[in-house]
């Protein structure tokens, strides 16, 4: 099940661990361009992480160990998921049959402890944030799953390296519409899961309107760094899912594949930036509707696959 | 001689009870008579004489079962009598004791008689001897109950007489000698006149069914059971209804020999389901514990009729159910009697927390409730389950499902009454009487519920063999 320690594995681990913060920079840069600003350096997230790791922290009196465990788990699960999904090559260091489910559930575990950490502070706002996060996750998760069902149906497997492997590229010719629908719905999931506009505004300054950001208000220093890093990993994971889903990174040439993959993730980040710049944040009650809409889109894709084959 | 003794011993003791002047010692005659009776019954059944008076009295496989059943059930009630009557020392128990003792004599006579006329006379006498017992409390409600019991019972039994006459006439019609002797009827009934047999059977089932308490002739039951002392309720529900059932079985037997099974079975199933349904309706939201038990008795009489109507293994179930229902009803009625004494009420409005106020009676009530509703591990389950299985075995799953449905509805109704009064807070101080769970009034309950449990896990010999015999006796092919 585990691929041997090949060059691809080494590249995979390196990319998974080092590349993600760059995407945050890309998004910021795109938004800056749209706003007519120069914006932060592309590598700003790396600087932030470095700085946070060296800062001291203040911890709320009401908290317990859960408060600190939240960032740790969210980072750990992020890393594991990044090692499960295929990146530039149809393999992954930790791939096994059924890892699709593990990946989704690992993200769930991360979310669980992030919400726990938020509730541990006893702040009304952080509670509010975690309630919203919980609600939207309930709606986003099935969308992801229906998409996976489509892929599993098309590729005849439910291991990440097959589902998002080379089979997808072949499937595009047969089930273009279905895959497009999945792509769209997953992009919505990406926006929700990573707390992006139009579902959440990471840069807002009013706690009442936040979702994800408000949950981590009390974290500081290395813990906050872990959260930031974990968030970038999550963004990277979803971007990678989208890129693998397009099936473009399956040319057969390893170098080209990795190149296409990395470019692809940056393109996804740019897209996120564009959406963030072009759209306003949804009203809170609209969000479930939008998510259910994404679910319906994915379900339609599933129906297409069922009927076509 | 033994057969005569079975009838005479209680009758003589009844006469004795009427002359014994001591209110305190008189009740002891009841358990004495019951013990002697059981002894005599056992001696007789284990190989004594089988017939007397030209087969006017006889023991056959059918009434053997019933004789044993009524003797056992009566003994359980009898053991309770002294304790209960001592608790009611302010009231003369002369008439009650006399009647209760005579009751044993005449029910034995009903059991043993092989002559339809004699059976009828004895049956009518049971109505007369139980009426004063129901009136024991001497209040307006008891009076009303007695009046209704007496009149409905008499009318019913009068119809049974007409039915008996019809039956005898049916024999004349068939060209054979007119007779009311059971053995002769059975012997010749294959050539009986069918229209008259039909009419006779209907009247007989309605008539003796009135004594059994099948719906819609059951209307006296809630009143009589509700107002009579618990012990009398137990006797009526355990003994009287059983012998009435025996009478119905006698005629079913004749109908069977006359190849009228389908007709007879249809009627019995009809009455069975109607009784169970009626009981279910009236048990819902029933506030009166004793009336609730009375409807339960209606339900179980329905079960008996239903089981016979189904044929096959259900017949055995029905016969066994006579024991199980009777013993369990004794436990329930005696417990209800204790509760009535202790609370001065039998309404669920006042009766709550019985398991605290009367720990033993309360537990027996609860256990008896589960037993009578057919919970496994209790006797009634064994028989009810056989009746149910009989329905499916006979290829009538719809009837079986109806049976289950009624069991469920009855459970709901009865449980809502009994479970709710078993649990709950203790009533306020001063609202209840001084009565408490003394040994003399609880050991018969414990005995009865213990027997119920015992019968639920083990059917002692020779009961299974006797039941099988009785079943074969009932179902033996008319050609033989």
């Amino acid at each position: 099940m585990f691929s041997s320690l090949s060059l691809h594995t080494i590249i995979h681990v390196a990319v998974a661990l080092l590349f993600p913060p760059l995407l945050l920079g890309v998004i910021n840069r795109v938004k800056a361009v749209f706003g007519g600003r120069r914006g932060q350096p592309l590598l700003q997230a790396y600087y932030d992480l470095w700085k946070l790791m060296h800062k001291d922290s203040v911890i709320s009196q009401t908290t317990t160990w859960v408060f600190l465990f939240g960032p740790v788990v969210s980072l750990a699960t992020g890393i594991l998921v990044a090692l499960i999904i295929p990146l530039g090559h149809a393999s992954a260091p930790l791939a096994f049959a059924g890892d699709v489910i593990l990946a989704v559930y690992l993200l769930g575990l991360g979310r669980f402890f992030t919400m726990g950490a938020a509730l541990d502070t006893g702040s009304a706002f952080e509670g509010m944030g975690s309630a919203r996060e919980a609600t939207f996750a309930c709606l986003a998760e099935p969308v992801l799953f229906i998409g996976l069902l489509v892929l599993a149906k098309l590729t005849g497997s439910f291991s990440m390296i097959d589902v998002l492997g080379d089979g997808v590229a072949e499937a595009w010719s047969g089930a273009t519409v279905a895959l497009l629908l999945v792509l769209v719905s997953w992009f919505v999931v990406l926006l929700v899961e990573n707390s992006r506009i139009p579902f959440d505004d990471p840069n807002t300054h009013l706690e009442l309107t936040m979702i994800h950001e408000v949950m981590v208000l009390d974290h500081s220093g290395p813990a906050l760094g872990m959260i930031l890093y974990g968030a970038s990993l999550k963004l990277f994971v979803f971007a990678a899912l989208l890129v693998r889903l397009t099936g473009l990174a399956a040319t057969g040439n390893p170098l080209a594949d990795w190149g296409i993959f990395l470019t692809g993730t940056i393109v996804v980040a740019c897209l996120v930036g564009v959406v963030e710049s072009a759209m306003a944040r949804f009203r809170l009650p609209t969000i479930p509707a939008a998510l259910v809409g994404a679910g319906v889109v994915a379900f339609f894709g599933f129906l297409l696959v069922m009927i076509e084959l | 001689m033994m057969l005569l003794l079975i009838i005479l011993v209680p009758t003589v003791l009844s006469g004795l009870a009427m002359v014994v002047p001591w209110n305190q010692w008189r009740p002891l005659l009841i358990p004495l008579a019951a013990t002697l009776h059981l002894g005599l019954v056992i001696t007789t059944l284990s190989g004594g004489e089988t017939s007397a008076f030209d087969r006017w009295l006889a023991i056959d496989p059918l009434n053997r079962v019933f004789l044993l059943a009524i003797s056992c059930i009566y003994l359980l009630c009898a053991l309770y009598a002294p304790g209960y009557l001592w608790a009611r020392a302010n009231r003369s128990n002369r008439v009650l004791c006399g009647c209760v003792l005579l009751f044993l004599g005449v029910t034995s006579l009903v059991c043993l008689s092989h002559h339809l006329g004699l059976m009828w006379v004895a049956m009518e006498t049971t109505t007369l001897v139980t009426a004063p017992c129901i009136y024991f409390n001497h209040n307006a409600r008891a009076l009303e109950a007695t009046w209704k019991y007496l009149l409905i019972g008499s009318v019913g039994i009068a119809l049974a007489l007409l039915g008996s006459f019809f039956l005898a006439y049916a024999m004349i019609q068939a060209g054979s000698e007119s007779t009311l002797l059971f053995d002769e009827l059975v012997e010749h009934s294959h050539k009986i006149s069918h229209p008259w047999l039909h009419a006779a059977f209907i009247l007989l089932v309605v008539g003796y069914g009135t004594k059994m308490g099948l719906a819609p002739m059951h209307t006296w039951k809630p009143d009589a059971y509700g107002e009579a002392p618990g012990m009398i309720g137990a006797l009526l529900a355990g003994v009287l209804t059983s012998v009435a059932f025996l009478c119905v079985l006698r005629f079913f037997h004749i109908a069977h020999i006359a190849h009228e099974d389908r007709f007879a079975q249809r009627i019995l199933v009809f009455f069975g389901l109607l009784s169970m349904g009626t009981a279910a309706v009236f048990m819902a939201r029933q506030k009166d514990i004793k009336r609730c038990l009375a409807y339960s008795s209606v339900e179980h009489m329905g079960m008996l009729a239903f089981g016979i109507g189904l044929g096959g293994m259900a017949v055995g179930g029905s016969l066994l159910h006579v024991f199980h229902n009777g013993i369990c009803k004794v436990a329930l009625f005696l417990a209800a009697g204790n509760i009535h004494r202790a609370y001065g009420s039998k309404s669920t409005d006042e009766v709550t927390g019985v398991i605290r106020r009367l720990p033993i009676s309360g537990v027996v009530l609860l256990a008896g409730f589960f037993a009578i509703t057919g919970s496994p591990l209790f006797g009634p389950f064994v028989s009810e389950f056989q009746i149910l299985n009989g329905a499916f075995e006979a290829g009538k799953p719809a009837l079986g499902l109806c049976f289950l449905l009624f069991l469920l509805l009855v459970f709901f109704g009865m449980g809502n009454t009994l479970v709710n009064c078993a649990f709950g807070p203790l009533p306020e101080e001063g609202t209840t009487t001084q009565f408490s769970d003394r040994f003399s009034v609880v050991f018969p309950l414990l005995l009865a519920i213990g027997l119920t449990v015992l019968l639920g896990v083990w059917t002692p010999e020779p009961l299974p063999a006797w039941i099988t015999d009785a079943q074969q006796f009932l179902q033996r092919s008319p050609a033989e």
Partner: protein
């Protein structure tokens, strides 16, 4: 020998309550002795299960039955052995918990009858799963059901408890009577009540039997529309009783369904579909109802509905597999579902025990007045948290293992069938995903509101940790949860025995371990734990232990109070609204009309929709009909005599 041993174990358990019931209350020696006997009896049972695993099938033990010609059979087959594990483990743990939770000094009314019937119920469940004939099964079944009634009604002076007890026994008796029907039909088809494959199981009778089994046993199990009794009974019973009711007793309903499904040689596809469908509905709506609850035990009870739903989904998948002859689906479905039986037994009883120790110190089940208990009762809090993670099906704990098996099976449906309506079964997978997410939302709510944050009441501020007898059993259960989560492969032998016994005589049934390779789960769990440890060490290395403590960031408010924390209802509000169509929440909101409004109160609660909107109206309608019927007994003697006349006339006309 194993069958005799398990019989001894069951009977020992049944008798175990006697010391507590008869010995003097003062030194609690009776209770301790009872718990000891029960633990010992269950240990004997455990040894028997182990022996069965090693030695294979043994000769059955038979007894004469009260019904002539039938016999009672005790034989531990694979299915029995599998279900015995949670029965033995959880009842033993809960009985030790009860030592301290249900002290004679605190419960003078019921301290005798609770251990007595606790033992009876435990033993009855042991005997239930080893019974191989309808009569013994029914006897054990009813003993269990009635003992549970006594246990639920332990605090019968409370009116609500009595109502719950009554609702419970009414539903339970419905289940019992359905079981009557099932075994009766079994006998009418095979000629005896003994369990075994019915050769000619076709026609309407077989369908009736299957329906009775599913809806009857499903009522006991608490599958969605039949779950009405479950929330109130679980919340009103003493917590250690809730633990065995939810952890084990409702599994007996599942056992019933599973056992009866072995009687049928062929399963129609529709049965599997219905089972899977109702399982999914049960799982989703169960957790949705759970989210709306403020009563911690009611909430846990609804999670039982959810988890039963998951188990039933697995079963449904396996039935579909049997209908379409797909061994992989069978193995994954039944394997996952039954492993979830174990898992749910472990973590749900753990959670109920945890809730019990919270209730013991708080004196209430209302979560809205709790908060911050993790500081005051860390052992309970941590155990509860682990249970919460496990019940959400999150890695690296046991809930995940069973769910991934079911997921895999559902995915296999897509993979193994090229087309056809069977594929729709795969849609249960996203359903399961919704369930997982909702469960996570619900449990983070419970953990957050009860254990995290600041105390919302004085009682919560002065709460104390539970004693050793209460924490110990919880730790045992935690250990089991973790063990299955980390080493699921260890369960494979028993799972395989169970699957073999379920698929009587079928060829080509692979091992669970080959259908789903479990070792990666162990590795991934190890990696996850290692990474988390590393993260924690990193934080410690960065000096987090000495970090200064400050106030929570209060967003600029001057006087924050613990009452301002997000409560359980506020946390759930959005989700409750999403499921408004099913939950029908009742909201008592103040209407503000003046400029300076008076003190106002906002309250919302979620009642059981099925009970309030379907069952109660039906009961009321029935009673309305009955009232009409009662006019017949109107006290008039003339009327009564008229009935007699009428029935004679009717019969003469009819015949």
């Amino acid at each position: 020998m194993t069958n005799e041993l398990i019989l001894v174990s069951g009977i020992g358990a049944i008798l175990s309550g006697i010391p507590a019931a008869v010995l003097p209350a003062r030194f609690r020696i009776g209770q301790a002795l009872s718990a000891l006997v029960l633990v010992f009896a269950n240990a004997v049972g455990g040894y028997a299960v182990f022996q069965r695993l090693i030695q294979g099938p043994q000769a059955a033990v038979t007894f004469p039955s009260p019904i002539a010609g039938a016999r009672l059979i005790v034989d531990m087959d694979g299915l029995s052995a599998f279900f015995l594990v949670p029965v033995l483990l959880v009842t033993a743990a809960a009985s030790v918990f009860g030592l301290e939770y249900w002290k004679s000094s605190e419960h003078p009314q019921s301290f005798r009858r609770v251990p007595l019937f606790f033992g009876i119920m435990s033993g009855a469940m042991t005997l239930l799963v080893v019974a191989q004939d309808g009569l013994l099964f029914l006897a054990a079944w009813e003993t269990m059901a009635v003992s549970a009634l006594i246990l639920v009604a332990a605090e019968d002076h409370i009116a609500e408890t009595r109502r719950a007890a009554w609702l419970y026994i009414a539903a339970s008796h419905f289940a019992t009577l359905c079981a009557f029907g099932v075994f009766t039909i079994l006998r009418s088809m095979t000629g005896s009540w003994e369990f075994g494959v019915i050769e000619n199981a076709h026609g309407p009778l077989a369908a009736i039997m299957a329906a009775l089994a599913f809806f009857g046993f499903g009522t006991k199990a608490g599958i969605m529309p039949m779950h009405v009794w479950l929330p109130s009974a679980h919340s009103q019973a003493p917590s250690h009783v809730s633990a065995i009711m939810s952890g084990v007793m409702i599994k007996m309903g599942i056992y019933g369904i599973v056992r009866v499904s072995t009687f049928f040689p062929d399963i129609p596809l529709a049965w599997g579909g219905i089972v899977l469908g109702l399982g999914t509905v049960s799982a989703i709506l169960g957790v949705a109802f759970a989210i709306g609850q403020h009563d911690i035990k009611r909430l846990l009870a609804y999670h039982s509905v959810e988890n039963i739903g998951i188990i039933v989904m697995g079963l449904g998948l396996a039935l579909i597999g049997r209908a379409t002859h797909q061994p992989a689906w069978i193995v994954l479905g039944i394997g996952g579902g039954m492993l979830h039986v174990w898992n749910h037994a472990l973590f749900k009883s753990l959670l109920f025990l945890g809730a019990g120790s919270v209730i013991h110190t708080m004196g209430t089940r209302n979560m809205e007045v709790m908060g911050g208990l993790a500081k005051r009762m860390p052992w309970t809090a941590n155990c509860f948290l682990i249970g919460a993670v496990a019940i959400c099906g999150l890695p690296p704990l046991n809930g995940f293992v069973s769910e991934i098996l079911i997921y895999t099976g559902l995915f296999r449906v897509l993979q193994d069938t090229p087309q056809g309506p069977v594929q729709a079964a795969a849609l249960a997978a996203p359903g399961l995903a919704v369930v997982g997410a909702l469960a996570a939302a619900c449990f983070i709510k419970v953990v957050g509101v009860v254990f995290l944050g600041a105390p919302r009441s004085d009682r919560a501020a002065t709460a104390h940790e539970a004693g050793r007898a209460m924490v110990g059993p919880m730790l045992v259960l935690v250990l089991c949860c973790v063990a299955i989560g980390l080493l699921p492969a260890a369960c494979v032998p028993l799972l395989d025995t169970m699957v073999t016994s379920w698929t009587v005589g079928a060829d080509g049934i692979p091992s669970v371990g080959t259908e789903f390779y479990l070792t990666p789960i162990t590795i991934m769990a190890g990696l996850l734990i290692a990474l988390c440890l590393a993260g924690c060490l990193a934080l410690r290395w960065r000096g987090i232990a000495d970090a200064p403590r400050g106030l929570t960031w209060d967003c600029g408010y001057a006087a924050p109070s613990p009452r301002m924390q997000y409560t359980s209802s506020s946390f759930a509000e959005m989700l409750v609204k999403l499921f408004r169509w099913a939950l029908q929440p009742v909201v008592h909101a103040p209407s503000i009309r003046e400029l300076f409004p008076q003190r106002a109160r906002f309250e919302s609660h979620v009642n059981d929709t099925v009970l309030e909107k379907a069952v109660m109206p039906a009961v009321r309608g029935g009673l309305w009909l009955v009232r009409w019927g009662r006019y017949f007994q109107n006290g008039s003697l003339q009327a009564y005599l008229l009935y007699i006349l009428a029935i004679i006339v009717f019969l003469f006309l009819w015949q």
